[in-house]
């Protein structure tokens, strides 16, 4: 590496020029000739047979081009594939609607206004069926069954055992048993889903513009549902996406639905999801019931955990679910040396909206149960919660560390992170402040969470949904590859092609920093194109913007592509200067003869020769000056026969602390202090890291205190507007004191890991632990979220307060 002039600096973003002036390339701003507009008719019932759809009145409305009905969808497409098998999930309800908001028909018209008028003229005959909304109720013998062909609402259940948990529980001094509930909420971004679909019947080519986080495995899922070859489904992701947070990986049913509508209408069709639709029927993480047991020695050593997770995946299990159960499998024991683990993991369908990847993906419910349990252990044994964690941490000299479940943690220094957190927070002073407050009768609490941030999904993880015997029948899956393309144009300017479109993470800037360092050229000489076109881009089955992969494997791919370009440039320079390669060094964007700085060839000249004088190149060398690098991690192996699996590849760490006060009269929880210390490996841009932590902490706090998706007992959705679904404003966002520890990852080229998801997983339980600590003198414990004022008020009343 030619030296870090740019990487690690708080470089200002190249994206900002256009975003600050209203020139963002969001999909809603995209123009296509003869564009029509779609509106979606949705089921008002949580569970109902669809007996008849009559669109004749809608079709008679002037300006309406067509109506696509559920019957069309069932005829024109196949169900989406899913690893668990037979659930028939289409882009609209087909025959039966299974959650409020499920699409039933699509009206296509000259304007969105007319399309919505048309919805009122579509007559649907529903036969309501009993609905079930809770995953445990859905498992009861008398529960309404959502999918008759399955005969049960359970789509997958797998059990695992590592080490000897039974022996550990028999030998334990103390056993902690608790049931936890993690709620349904979602990281809804400001920009909703948007799809423009255009079908060319002559070429039999469907073009879909969408603010999609893929392509990854989802592109194959889309193509198969449409019964089209992959190279006839062209997905173009425009250069700006207004937030994704995982939800825009799961917009594929709408991509298919609008594709079908465009095929039927014979005109290009645009659909921009509105807020009501987004809150009702886009995506969220699964809510979870956890039965947890921990076997503990009196000295605080945690010997074993038994975890039963029951996830609610909504009306249909949809790819990549049941990943909510398995994506974080490698980190089920978090930051601790717990060698004996029993897991019982289930995914259950209910008449609620559908789930998928969301920032943290399975990590927030995992750490809610684990970190609450650590605090329960501390309370039972009379130990300080920080001391308990220090005692159980994987130690710095033990890396690389393989967890009981097969996770290969690459690097870390957990005790140092926690010590820095306690120092940053002035922990002893906070405890003294708490004691003084308690003397005054105030309910003040301190909560901690220490979590491992697993980054970069290994696609092999999804096979854990199948037993080892079933896996042996299928092709193994593995990998986490990402692609970087670096090209030097004939005039010597640099182009980098990114293979995923970020949703605000500043990839263009980071890529520019990396390539500027590798090639020794100023940032202004580099143009990054972060737009995906599945026909024009080089991509792979794991390429996309998800699971914090950009700053680790993505960054590695761009660095390696730039290094390959540099290596070729050196070879060419040696050839033209007639010196040995060993006599050259790369300095400030030029090949320079060691000790003879006037004998140099700048990149511009080398590129010129490679383009303009192609036959003068060394024998066997291709013209042009470019490189495509696909970076994969060798740690992304398929699950082993004993089910151990390294489901992620690069492991960061976060330690967070909150000081809260609970108002006795109103139950309102106020955050007085919030501190976070993170290890994301090599820091690529410190202001980006700060922004990611702030954003994720506020989102996590919101999950603890404000946001919840709710349905009533008949399955009616109650939080379809921002007046009902509370998102935090600037007034609710705390100031966060931050510090960092850096343990570079040996797995990535620059040593960088991920940062975007850590606080999303840590903050909810940090708040829960703080509130539990505040209410501990009253004997109240916290086992679920959110902690709304009336929820807390009820707890206080029941405790006699």
């Amino acid at each position: 590496m030619s030296g870090s002039k740019w990487v690690g600096q708080a470089v200002k973003r190249v994206e900002d020029g256009r975003l600050l002036t209203g020139r963002g390339g969001f999909v809603a701003n995209h123009q296509v000739a003869n564009l029509h507009h779609a509106a979606i008719l949705r089921s008002p019932h949580a569970h109902a047979r669809i007996n008849r759809i009559d669109a004749s009145r809608a079709l008679a409305l002037p300006g309406v081009a067509t109506v696509l009905t559920a019957e069309d969808v069932g005829r024109m497409s196949d169900p989406f594939v899913n690893i668990t098998g037979p659930v028939r999930y289409y882009s609209s309800a087909v025959g039966t609607a299974r959650f409020v908001g499920e699409p039933v028909a699509v009206a296509v018209a000259r304007s969105r206004y007319i399309a919505e008028d048309a919805l009122d003229l579509i007559d649907v005959e529903y036969e309501p069926l009993p609905a079930v909304l809770d995953q445990e109720a859905a498992l009861a013998p008398d529960a309404p069954i959502l999918h008759e062909n399955l005969g049960t609402n359970l789509c997958v259940r797998r059990t695992f055992s590592f080490g000897d948990a039974d022996k550990a529980f028999a030998e334990a001094d103390v056993v902690i048993t608790e049931k936890f509930r993690f709620p349904r909420y979602s990281h809804f971004p400001m920009e909703t889903y948007g799809v423009i679909a255009s079908y060319d019947p002559a070429a039999r080519l469907l073009t879909l513009w969408a603010n999609f986080q893929g392509p990854f495995i989802i592109h194959t899922v889309i193509a198969r549902a449409l019964r089209m070859p992959q190279n006839r489904v062209r997905v173009i992701v425009p250069g700006d996406i207004g937030g994704g947070f995982g939800l825009k990986t799961s917009m594929y049913p709408y991509m298919v639905l609008l594709g079908l509508a465009a095929m039927k209408a014979g005109v290009p069709v645009k659909w921009i999801e509105d807020r009501r639709e987004a809150l009702t029927a886009s995506s969220s993480h699964a809510d979870r019931v956890t039965y947890m047991q921990a076997a503990v020695r009196n000295d605080g050593t945690v010997l074993a955990i038994r975890t039963r997770n029951i996830d609610n995946v909504g009306g249909y299990i949809r790819t990549p679910e049941p990943a909510n159960l398995f994506a974080r499998f490698s980190a089920m024991t978090g930051a601790y040396k717990i060698r004996n683990v029993q897991l019982d993991l289930s995914a259950v369908m209910t008449n609620t909206s559908l789930t998928g990847p969301v920032r943290g993906y399975g990590g927030h419910p995992l750490y809610f149960a684990l970190e609450r349990t650590m605090d329960l252990i501390a309370a039972r044994l009379g130990l300080d919660p920080a001391e308990l964690r220090l005692k159980n941490f994987i130690q710095p000299q033990e890396f690389p560390y393989t967890t009981a479940t097969g996770g290969e943690y690459d690097s870390g220094n957990y005790p140092e992170c926690l010590r820095r957190l306690l120092s940053l927070a002035r922990y002893d002073e906070l405890r003294a402040r708490q004691r003084a407050a308690r003397d005054e009768g105030r309910l003040v609490g301190i909560g901690l969470a220490t979590i491992v941030d697993p980054c970069v999904t290994n696609i092999g993880y999804i096979a854990l949904a199948k037993s080892q015997a079933e896996r042996a029948q299928r092709r193994p899956m593995s990998g986490s590859g990402d692609v970087g393309v670096v090209r030097i144009d004939p005039n010597g300017d640099v182009v980098v092609l990114a293979t995923s479109v970020p949703q605000g993470q500043g990839h263009e800037t980071i890529i520019t920093q990396i390539v500027a360092d590798e090639l020794g050229v100023p940032m202004e000489r580099i143009t990054v194109l972060a737009q995906v076109d599945t026909l024009a881009s080089v991509w792979g089955i794991t390429t996309g913007s998800y699971s914090s992969r950009f700053s680790s494997v993505g960054a590695s791919a761009y660095a390696m592509a730039a290094r390959q370009v540099r290596a070729k440039a050196l070879k060419l320079a040696a050839h033209f200067l007639e010196v040995a390669e060993a006599d050259l060094e790369w300095k400030d964007g030029a090949a320079v003869v060691r000790g003879a700085p006037d004998k140099a060839l700048p990149l511009r000249a080398i590129a010129g020769a490679a383009h303009w004088n192609q036959t003068s190149l060394p024998p066997g060398m291709e013209p042009n000056l470019q490189a495509t690098y696909v970076f994969n991690l060798p740690t992304s192996r398929p699950p082993a026969d004993d089910d151990r699996a390294n489901t992620q590849n690069v492991y960061g760490f976060g330690a967070e602390l909150a000081l809260v006060e609970v108002d006795r009269t109103s139950g309102v929880v106020r955050i007085l202090e919030y501190c976070a210390v993170h290890d994301c490996g090599t820091v690529l841009n410190p202001s980006h890291v700060r922004g990611q932590v702030h954003g994720a902490v506020v989102q996590g706090i919101s999950g603890a205190l404000f946001e919840q998706m709710r349905w009533d007992e008949s399955g009616q959705y109650l939080t379809a507007s921002l007046q009902d679904y509370l998102m935090p404003t600037a007034m609710e966002a705390p100031e966060i004191k931050m510090d960092h520890v850096v343990t570079p990852s040996p797995n990535t080229v620059l040593g960088s890991k991920g940062i975007g998801e850590a606080s999303s997983m840590a903050a909810p339980v940090t708040i829960a632990n703080a509130v539990a600590d505040a209410l501990a003198p009253l004997g109240v414990t916290i086992t679920s979220l959110p902690l709304w004022p009336d929820t807390v008020w009820r707890m206080l009343r029941e405790a006699g307060c």
């Binding site: 969001f26 206004y113 971004p189 700006d240 937030g243 949703q503 922004g691 902490v697 998102m727 600037a730």
Partner: protein
């Protein structure tokens, strides 16, 4: 179809269109006035992304019909910068990493711009309160508040007509 002629001044340019009376101001600005920087995120009046200045006052363009504001003077994000020169507030946003995806940013900037014109030296808390009608999902707000606080200390450029921009 009930239509009516709407005349507006948008970013200093006169626009006259004959549109449906039910057309929202946000759609008018985007579809008829080339103001694609007006981002629509909720159409429920809750999030503030579609905020524009209506006769100098911040307003949610998704909650008005175009016909309701016939004759008004409207500033959208496209009118904040001057040719190629960013307004100091926009510069401060870039300096402080006050935007990530950028979708809430136009509304956030216009709200902050109008607030600073009335409160030249606000505290961090006053800024938070002023921006509490603009939702952001990416930043956690801290760097936005820091940017506005810093922008308040920067000189405001004079507009061509001699008034402050």
């Amino acid at each position: 179809m009930n239509t009516s002629v709407v005349r507006l001044h948008v970013n200093g340019h006169a626009i006259e269109r004959n549109v449906e009376v039910r057309m929202l101001l946000s759609d008018f600005l985007r579809d008829e006035a080339d103001a694609l920087g007006v981002n629509v995120a909720c159409e429920q009046g809750a999030c503030g992304s579609c905020t524009i200045l209506l006769d100098g006052v911040p307003a949610r363009s998704c909650l008005a019909f175009a016909v309701q504001v016939d004759g008004a003077d409207i500033l959208t994000i496209e009118g904040l910068a001057s040719d190629d020169t960013l307004h100091p507030l926009q510069e401060a946003f870039r300096d402080h990493h006050a935007l990530q995806c950028g979708f809430c940013t136009p509304g956030m900037l216009l709200t902050a711009y109008e607030f600073l014109s009335r409160h030249p030296r606000p505290s961090m808390n006053e800024i938070r309160r002023a921006l509490s009608g603009n939702l952001c999902r990416c930043t956690g707000y801290q760097q936005i508040v820091e940017a506005v606080h810093d922008a308040a200390t920067r000189p405001v450029p004079r507009a061509a007509n001699g008034g402050d921009r």
